[in-house]
């Protein structure tokens, strides 16, 4: 008796595939006859190319099917040919068909279509031309190949800061330097010449020659441009405000763009495994070393995930006693961190006091004492983060949390130490009558900037490079083994950049050429760091997402900008109260507020009333209220959407299981039917056999 096969295997499995026992149940389901007739399965079938050679309306209909030709019929026929997922013959046939269509579309529509495609091509070419103009592309490509995406992100961030500073330079030149050069300074200002007391030291201390130069606030006085609303002081102030405002907009925009990207991947971005597996490989890698590095990155990424899994398992198994002990330990360690921070701040206060009150020493000692605060800040920022790293290893967190905690503490340290230093300078009560306070403040910022650069330079050439040389020449010595290989620590380097940029922003009001100095030092830093990375460091095979995320970098920049804004506001407020500064564009009683008032007063009365209203509380309070209401509505809409998504997901799972159930029922019924048919067929045969036997 021939056993008829009741199920057809409609799919050819290649040799590579293996039959898995786990999903044998579901395998059965997919091999049932009716499954192939379901519309959703028909839609996702791969389109064989031969089918498209059938001309006319039929292939038009075929083209309209499924995801492989992108959705409904109309969409497929208007999509650019390139976007169709067909082979070349298919595209040619589609093109011929469209040509037949075009003659029936009419001149106007086809002209519009060709125009839009030309515009698109033009945009693409422009985009690629602009991308080709970005400098250092080749270097970045090399670094990415050898060290991975994280280190490249640092250099990309550095390049972004160079552009930002160039923009600031342009604004300074336009608003501040330009008017002063064209319209001159006030009548009682001396021309810039070398005097007898000047020396090379001035370039380090910012005194003497530099004090009288355009580098500092005191140089810019009200010149011949002296109208009510268009004068050099007002332009100066507007220039500074523009710089800060523009930086704010650019940094916020980049932060939110990056944040949207990370949010889109879901809350648990760091454990989005599917993404890691299916989008993990970078297809642009062409050299073997880069491929090996990428593979080790992916492998370590996955190992990290597995470690986190086992850590969370361990964490869930902690007893109450262990939890309490851990809490106490963490509290004690946090107190230690706070006390370390407090000690560092006191240290900075102490050195600021010494530096501000130093007078009449030998020039070398004087130089040293003047640079004492920057040196203290740099020293503190060098040593404490490593101590924090050690502390966090005792707190029994998972690896990623450890890195994040250290990072947060280091950021706080860096920005707070700068803030404390600024606070101490601002509240310093040394107030002589003919002493230009703004210049002094600018000088401190200038010194910070210079010292930052010197520290970078010396850390590479006096620490990293000798360490590498020791490794190369005496690899088996005890020193080399103790020191180990050098890695490029991304987060700490980024913190340095953010710190430098914050200093630049804080000081730009008092030292308008600081962006220019910043640009030069950043470009030099690029080459120094490039040397350090390519020559002295080896690639680290672990990458922690937070430390290389651009959202993180830009958020830190935002914090720095906030610090700069707060300092400027505080300083201007102080200026109002004191009212006795003898230098710069706002001398004596011509404070910023007064100059603005004069300008506003000269405008037509309508504009005046509007401006006064905008600056009053009657406008600010409703504005805040309106913002709160809008935010609340967005948040609640977001929550409602999330609920809808969850409901739809449940519905999807339900329909899918309904489908499975129905398909199985149908197959069972069909099998039963066929068995009865066979029995009915064989019955007369069996009867015959019985009769004959």
């Amino acid at each position: 008796m021939e056993e008829q096969k009741s199920v057809n295997f409609m799919r050819l499995l290649s040799e590579e595939s293996t039959q898995s026992t786990v999903s044998s149940d579901s395998c059965e389901y997919y091999q049932m006859e009716i499954f192939d007739l379901l519309p959703s399965v028909q839609a996702s079938r791969p389109e064989p190319s031969r089918s498209v050679e059938q001309g006319g309306a039929e292939s038009q209909a075929r083209l309209g099917h499924g995801p492989l030709s992108q959705g409904p019929r109309d969409k497929a026929s208007t999509q650019p040919l390139r976007n169709l997922a067909l082979c070349m013959q298919g595209k040619r046939a589609a093109r011929d068909m469209r040509k037949m269509q075009i003659s029936s579309i009419g001149f106007w529509k086809s002209w519009r279509q060709s125009q839009s495609t030309n515009m698109k091509r033009l945009w693409e070419q422009m985009g690629s031309a602009v991308a080709g103009l970005l400098p250092w592309r080749h270097t970045l490509h090399r670094i990415e190949g050898r060290f991975g995406v994280g280190v490249k992100a640092y250099f990309v961030f550095l390049r972004y800061l160079v552009f930002l500073n160039l923009l600031h330079c342009a604004l300074t030149a336009g608003f501040i330097l330009g008017p002063t050069l064209v319209y001159g300074r006030g009548n009682d200002s001396k021309p810039l010449t070398f005097e007898s007391n000047d020396s090379v030291l001035d370039f380090f201390l910012g005194s003497g020659y530099l004090d009288r130069s355009p580098v500092f606030f005191g140089y810019y006085t009200r010149g011949s441009l002296d109208q009510k609303c268009l004068n050099t002081p007002l332009l100066y102030f507007i220039g500074i405000l523009t710089i800060l405002f523009l930086s704010l907009i650019m940094v916020v925009r980049r932060t939110t763009v990056g944040y949207k990207h990370t949010q889109m991947l879901g809350k648990r971005y760091s454990t989005n495994l599917c993404y890691k597996i299916l989008c993990g490989w970078d297809f642009t890698i062409q050299d073997p070393a880069g491929a090996v590095l990428k593979q080790s990155f992916i492998r370590n990424d996955l190992r990290l995930f597995l470690e986190e899994q086992s850590f969370s398992l361990r964490e869930a198994q902690r007893t109450l006693g262990q939890k309490v002990r851990l809490c106490l330990l963490r509290l004690a360690l946090n107190l230690m961190v706070l006390s370390l921070l407090g000690g560092a701040f006191y240290f900075i206060y102490f050195s600021t006091e010494i530096s501000l009150h130093e007078d009449g020493h030998h020039w070398l000692l004087s130089l040293f004492l003047q640079y004492l605060p920057p040196m203290t800040i740099t020293f503190v920022n060098l040593v404490l983060p490593h101590i924090f790293r050690k502390i966090s290893s005792f707190e029994d967190y998972s690896v990623t949390t450890q890195v994040n905690v250290t990072l947060v503490r280091s950021i706080f340290l860096k920005l707070a130490s700068l803030g404390i230093y600024l606070f101490f300078i601002l509240t310093n009560t040394k107030n002589e009558q003919h002493h230009c306070r703004e210049n002094q403040f600018g000088r401190e910022m200038y010194k910070l900037c210079i010292f930052n650069f010197l520290a970078t330079f010396s850390s590479v050439f006096l620490l990293n490079f000798p360490r590498k040389l020791v490794q190369e020449w005496y690899p088996s010595s005890a020193v080399a083994r103790r020191l180990g290989k050098q890695h490029f620590l991304i987060p700490f380097n980024v913190l340095d950049l953010v710190y430098g940029q914050t200093v630049s922003w804080v000081g730009v009001y008092y030292c308008p050429l600081l962006p220019l100095i910043g640009t030069v030092t950043l470009v030099a830093t690029f080459y120094i760091k490039k040397f350090s990375v390519l020559r002295c460091c080896v690639a680290e095979h672990r990458m922690f997402r937070a430390s290389s995320s651009s959202v993180f970098f830009h958020f830190m920049l935002l914090l720095g900008l906030l610090l700069a804004g707060v300092t400027l506001g505080f300083n201007l407020r102080q200026q109002e109260d004191r009212n006795t500064s003898p230098c710069g564009p706002f001398p004596g009683d011509q404070t910023v507020l007064k100059v603005t008032e004069t300008c506003v007063g000269s405008l037509p009365s309508m504009v005046q009333t509007i401006l006064r209203y905008l600056a009053s509380e009657a406008f600010a309070l409703p504005l805040i209220l309106a913002e709160i209401i809008i935010l609340t509505s967005y948040v609640s809409r977001g929550r409602a959407n999330q609920k809808a998504i969850d409901r739809l997901k449940d519905m999807l799972v339900m329909s899918s299981s309904d489908k499975v159930f129905l398909v199985r029922q149908h197959a069972t019924l069909l099998r039963g039917q066929r068995k009865r048919q066979r029995v009915a067929q064989d019955a007369p045969v069996l009867q015959q056999r019985d009769a004959s036997s």
Binding site: E16, S17, R82, N83, C87, Y275, I277, L652, S656
Partner: protein, 185 residues
């Protein structure tokens, strides 16, 4: 080498121009030709039917270091065995170029990762992908755990396999898919 006119007719060039995201140039044809100089004719005006085997194409420097090179070439070949004609060759580099849109790349990425060609990414497909990615340096238990978790995350309709819709949903949230799924020739 001679200019385009001797390799392709103007009409052919025109057809290529609208169907591809890469610019068809004599350099592109030259790359195809140099893989097998004795097999590939210089004159394509009468559309010769010549296919190069998989083994020659995966040795190109652009594909050599890619762990998925075999699957890439197979998914662009009509016969599924990896033999590419010139049309399929340029089609492959067109889809993998910078200009190709996300939807098109997602379709072909799905094809590449679908090792058993059943239109679903099942656990075995993911396990094979993972092994190729990590050069089999993770233990089998680790691989299984990771793949299970991956399917759990991305499977929307609860059938323990990733359909194209699930895949596309996941890709749509990936910010750098376009820049990583890209080969420049």
């Amino acid at each position: 080498m001679g200019n385009k006119q001797t390799i392709f007719t103007d009409e052919q060039l025109d057809a290529y121009q609208v169907s591809l995201f890469v610019r068809l140039s004599s350099r592109l044809h030259g790359r195809y030709h140099e893989l097998a100089p004795h097999l590939v004719p210089m004159d394509y005006t009468n559309e010769p039917d010549c296919k190069l085997p998989l083994a020659l194409i995966v040795n190109m420097p652009e594909l050599k270091e890619n762990p998925f090179r075999n699957r890439i070439v197979e998914s662009f070949s009509e016969d599924g065995q990896g033999n590419l004609s010139f049309n399929e060759f340029v089609d492959m580099f067109s889809v993998l170029s910078e200009m190709a849109p996300r939807e098109l790349k997602a379709i072909y990425a799905f094809k590449i990762y679908d090792f058993n060609v059943d239109n679903y990414l099942c656990k075995e497909d993911l396990e094979k992908t993972l092994n190729k990615l990590t050069k089999e340096e993770l233990t089998p238990e680790e691989v299984e755990l990771v793949c299970e978790k991956a399917i759990e995350e991305a499977d929307l309709d609860g059938d323990n396999k990733l359909s194209f819709a699930d895949f596309e949903n996941m890709i749509s949230r990936a910010p750098d898919f376009l820049s990583t799924f890209h080969i420049r020739i």
